[in-house]
């Protein structure tokens, strides 16, 4: 057992500051354990979001010594013995209180993506897919929606105004996943670029760097999606084809009323 210094950002509505605590740390503990000890001993109302404590639910996202991480997977033994640990909320999202952010941006973006669209005549049980078919997408479905990639992406982290036109790596990856599904019939390539802002991504790979599930977001989802978009939008033959009405298939539009609504939620 040792004593460590923890600087924890506390506050709400944007007003807040780092508070320093001296706290006990035992062998084998992670940052979340220490935060829990703070709650139990010194700061009972310290707000932290967590669930599984095993890196499976993606609730405990925060920034530890400036790095976006899951608190439940950040082992104390990885810090130098006399290093102070600074814990702050994710910077890209508004703070509700202390380390808890309002992540509704992400749910809004999720809702704008046209859903999986199997062939109209297919019935449950009809699909025959090989492991090779699903493997590529399974990597993306490992996502635990911790939103650390969304948080670190400079497109919105450093430019609040881009939030409207950019869905972020997590949801561009979801588009890529659906586009690669062998049984999907929709075509989201045009809206990937025009509505979800794929063009904003400059493939600088910070999303990949922070992903706790080690998903190769940039290499396996974003770049392949950029290539697919190039097939659709920046290929002279396709362009010519659509000019003279030869192109088959239609672009799937943004699902109506998911971005702006014409009604109130509960009429």
């Amino acid at each position: 057992m040792t004593k460590r210094t923890f600087n924890v950002w506390r506050g709400d509505g944007g007003a807040g500051a780092l508070a320093a605590y001296e706290v006990e740390v035992n062998e084998g503990e992670v940052v979340l354990d220490v935060l829990h000890r703070l709650q139990a001993t010194q700061a009972p109302d310290l707000a932290v979001r967590w669930n599984c404590k095993a890196g499976k639910c993606g609730s405990c996202s925060m920034e530890i010594n400036g790095r976006p991480r899951l608190a439940c997977m950040a082992r104390m033994s990885t810090f130098a013995p006399d290093e102070a640990v600074t814990v702050t909320p994710m910077r890209t999202f508004p703070v509700i209180r202390d380390l808890v952010c309002d992540v509704s941006y992400n749910y809004q973006k999720a809702r704008e993506i046209p859903s999986f669209t199997p062939p109209p005549d297919a019935k449950p049980g009809d699909f025959r897919m090989r492991q090779a078919d699903v493997q590529r997408m399974q990597e993306f479905r490992k996502c635990i929606e911790c939103f650390l990639c969304q948080n670190v992406c400079h497109v919105i982290r450093d430019h609040e105004e881009n939030k409207e036109s950019f869905s972020g790596p997590r949801f561009l990856m979801r588009v890529a996943e659906l586009e690669m599904h062998p049984e999907d019939t929709a075509d989201r390539r045009a809206i990937a670029q025009d509505e979800f802002g794929l063009g904003y991504c400059n493939i600088t790979k910070c999303c990949t760097e922070v992903c706790p599930e080690n998903i190769k977001i940039t290499d396996n989802a974003l770049i392949p999606l950029k290539e697919r978009v190039a097939d659709r939008k920046y290929d002279p033959l396709v362009w010519l084809g659509s000019r003279i009405g030869l192109r088959k298939g239609a672009d799937t539009p943004l699902p109506p009323n998911t971005r702006t609504t014409t009604a109130t939620p509960e009429q």
């Binding site: 709400d12 035992n26 062998e27 084998g28 503990e29 992670v30 139990a40 009972p44 109302d45 310290l46 707000a47 932290v48 979001r49 669930n51 599984c52 404590k53 095993a54 890196g55 499976k56 639910c57 993606g58 609730s59 997977m73 082992r75 033994s77 509700i96 209180r97 808890v100 749910y107 999720a110 809702r111 993506i113 046209p114 859903s115 999986f116 199997p118 297919a122 449950p124 049980g125 699909f127 897919m129 090989r130 492991q131 078919d133 399974q138 479905r141 490992k142 996502c143 635990i144 659906l178 699902p255 109506p256 009323n257 998911t258 609504t261 014409t262 009604a263 939620p265 509960e266 009429q267």
Partner: protein
């Protein structure tokens, strides 16, 4: 205090795990305006933690599988305490539910011919668990979550707003169910965790899908959400809980480092070839095969090892016995001094499979041990020990509709009781969520049809009183720290009503709970209303207490050992007790027990077992006539 927001819905589903989402999807598909309420964010419910898979007799890997075999395995696993109708519906409908998920976009692992692959699991005769690596629960919840989005998109197109028919209230905790003067459900009362604001949901039908109770125990694989809210809400609304004495201790939880003690090590480790050894290097499970399972399990290591490749000609390795058996065996090894350095036993895959294979089949286990314990499971064994995992007991419901004994109340998933008897088989929970989640959605819709537009109204005074109660811990100037009380409660349950139980200890537990109750009544939460975890815990304590009392009381009453209930002082299984179900209800603020007969199994279902096996469980008078059983078991083969 902040004001109260009101919402009106046809169906309110409490819980956004597998059961809750499936119920809500169904209610919406039945044309009902539905709300989903969840303590955590959307998509984070406990179901994400399920690893191994969802059991369904699809017969994709071994075509001999059928719902009858699945039913038989379920009943055997539950030691014949299961509600037979529930087990039957579950076995019959699980395959449909899994295929439906695939149609909504789930990507299960595949067989060579392109169908859903299935894996072996403890207690299942054939490979039966549809899975996605070792993160099946994540796939399940994500698929349901995306299905909700799909329905919302349809509503947006048609009605102008995505939330017109189906809305998720995340980070909102329900603290009480509202009833009308005649005791029918009228809605639910709760608070928004983010702000502390109060909300009232007025709805004639409420579906409980709040999951389990693990947080009442110290060593548990469950998260903070599992405070038994649904169980307690049901009790306070006048419903009954059955089988509360049956608590499943998963045999393999992590034991080191201390801060992750209890976190689950999936059963697939054993299903895929992992073996258990004690400190002497012995595969001790061979010594723990109970009589009832004697002829289904291997007796030598060679036979056991042969099974993985050629299951038709070998018997199963004893590592794959139902969970209760394995948990007790480990407990015993440790007690007799053959444990590992940190008080568990060794679970080893490193000597059984090449490293790449381990990485492919058990990626998240590899990740978990690497990150949390600094152990490389491809190079050495893991240390594991029992951890509180699942509660078989829950709200007493009607098998076909999920209706509880209070009109308008429904329950599905872990919070419902009966389906798993005295012990749940691995993989049966995920399929249970889907099968009974859907049935609850339909059940609620039919109940609304029956009401014909009438809407039970909650009493206004109730709402005021509830708001007072909920705010009380914040207003106190003195009172104990909720974290401290929680720790004491967990310690009590772990030590006195844990995996091996004794009469006097449980009496002691009940006394301690009694004292805790008074202290909890005056607990104090510091701070404000916005996202205040101390306050939230203070409110949850009440639920944990009620549930703990139900468990302790039922466990003290049942004088036999069966499945998830092991009595040191009554070590044998009793056919008489098998016929008795203990139902807990609230009388004042005390838990009382009632005895009920367990439904008898239909003759055609009974015929799935041979007479010899039945005679180990049933009383003489329940046994079918001798020759009838013989012919039936032949037909089956």
């Amino acid at each position: 205090m902040s004001e109260t927001t009101r919402h009106n819905y046809d169906v309110v589903v409490i819980g956004a795990g597998g059961a809750g989402l499936r119920a809500a999807i169904e209610a919406r598909q039945q044309g009902r305006k539905t709300a989903i309420i969840s303590k955590s964010l959307f998509g984070k419910a406990h179901t994400v933690m399920a690893e191994g898979g969802a059991a369904a007799a699809l017969g994709n890997v071994n075509s001999s599988d059928s719902w009858q075999v699945h039913f038989r395995d379920t009943i055997r696993g539950g030691k014949f305490m299961n509600d037979p109708r529930m087990a039957e519906l579950h076995a019959k409908e699980a395959p449909e539910r899994i295929l439906e998920l695939e149609h909504w976009g789930a990507l299960f692992d595949r067989t060579r011919d392109g169908r859903i692959s299935q894996r072996n699991f403890g207690g299942h005769e054939y490979p039966r668990l549809a899975h996605v690596g070792d993160r099946t629960g994540l796939e399940l919840i994500r698929t349901l979550q995306q299905r909700v989005v799909q329905l919302q998109q349809a509503d947006a197109a048609e009605l102008g707003h995505p939330e017109a028919m189906l809305r998720v209230f995340a980070e909102t905790t329900v603290t009480e169910l509202l009833t009308d003067a005649s005791g029918r459900i009228a809605g639910a009362f709760g608070y928004v965790r983010e702000t502390g604001e109060f909300v009232v949901f007025e709805a004639p039908a409420v579906v409980l899908a709040t999951g389990g109770i693990g947080k009442s125990f110290k060593v548990t694989s469950n998260s903070w959400e599992y405070t038994g809210d649904g169980h307690a809400l049901a009790l306070r609304a006048g419903a009954t809980l059955i089988n509360m004495e049956f608590v499943q201790f998963h045999p393999t939880g992590m034991v080191w480092p201390p801060s992750v003690k209890g976190i689950l090590v999936t059963e697939s480790v054993r299903g895929d070839g992992g073996v258990l050894r004690n400190s002497e290097g012995e595969r001790f499970m061979f010594g723990y095969v109970p009589d009832v399972f004697r002829n289904q399990y291997a007796e030598t290591e060679e036979e056991a090892d042969g099974w993985y490749a050629d299951p038709a000609n070998h018997r199963r390795p004893p590592e794959l016995l139902p969970r209760d058996e394995v948990a007790r065996a480990i407990n015993n090894e440790v007690k007799e001094g053959r444990g590992s350095p940190h008080g568990g036993v060794f679970l080893d895959v490193s000597t059984r499979m090449p490293a790449e294979e381990i990485m492919r089949r058990l990626p998240s286990m590899h990740h978990q041990f690497k990150e949390l314990a600094d152990v490389d499971i491809t190079a050495g064994p893991m240390e594991v020990g029992p951890t509180c995992h699942y509660v078989m007991g829950g709200v007493e419901v009607d098998a076909d509709t999920g209706a509880a004994r209070v009109p308008g109340l429904f329950a599905a998933g872990e919070v419902a009781g009966g389906m798993h008897g005295s012990n749940r088989l691995g993989g049966n929970s995920l399929s249970d969520l889907l099968v009974f989640g859907r049935r609850c959605g339909i059940g609620a819709a039919r109940y609304l049809d029956g009401l014909a537009g009438e809407r039970p109204a909650p009493a206004a005074a109730d709402v005021e009183r509830l708001a007072e109660e909920v705010a009380a811990p914040l207003r106190r100037d003195t009172g104990e720290n909720p974290y401290q009380l929680h720790q004491e409660l967990q310690q009590t349950m772990n030590d006195l009503v844990g995996i091996i139980r004794r009469g006097p200890e449980m009496e002691q537990a009940l006394e301690s709970l009694e004292k805790l109750r008074e202290r909890v009544a005056s607990v104090r939460a510091e701070g404000g209303t916005a996202y205040n975890p101390g306050w939230h815990l203070a409110l949850d304590l009440r639920n944990m207490l009620a549930v703990s009392e139900a468990i302790a009381r039922a466990a003290l009453t049942r004088e036999e050992s069966r499945g998830g209930h092991t009595r040191d002082d009554f070590p044998a299984m009793s056919p008489q007790w098998r016929r008795t179900v203990l139902a807990a209800r609230l009388a004042g603020d005390r838990v009382e027990l009632e005895r009920r007969p367990l439904d008898a199994m239909r003759p055609d279902l009974l015929a799935l077992f041979d007479r010899e096996e039945l005679s180990k469980y049933l009383t003489e008078e329940e046994l079918p006539p001798a020759e009838g059983a013989d012919t039936a078991s032949k037909e089956e083969k």
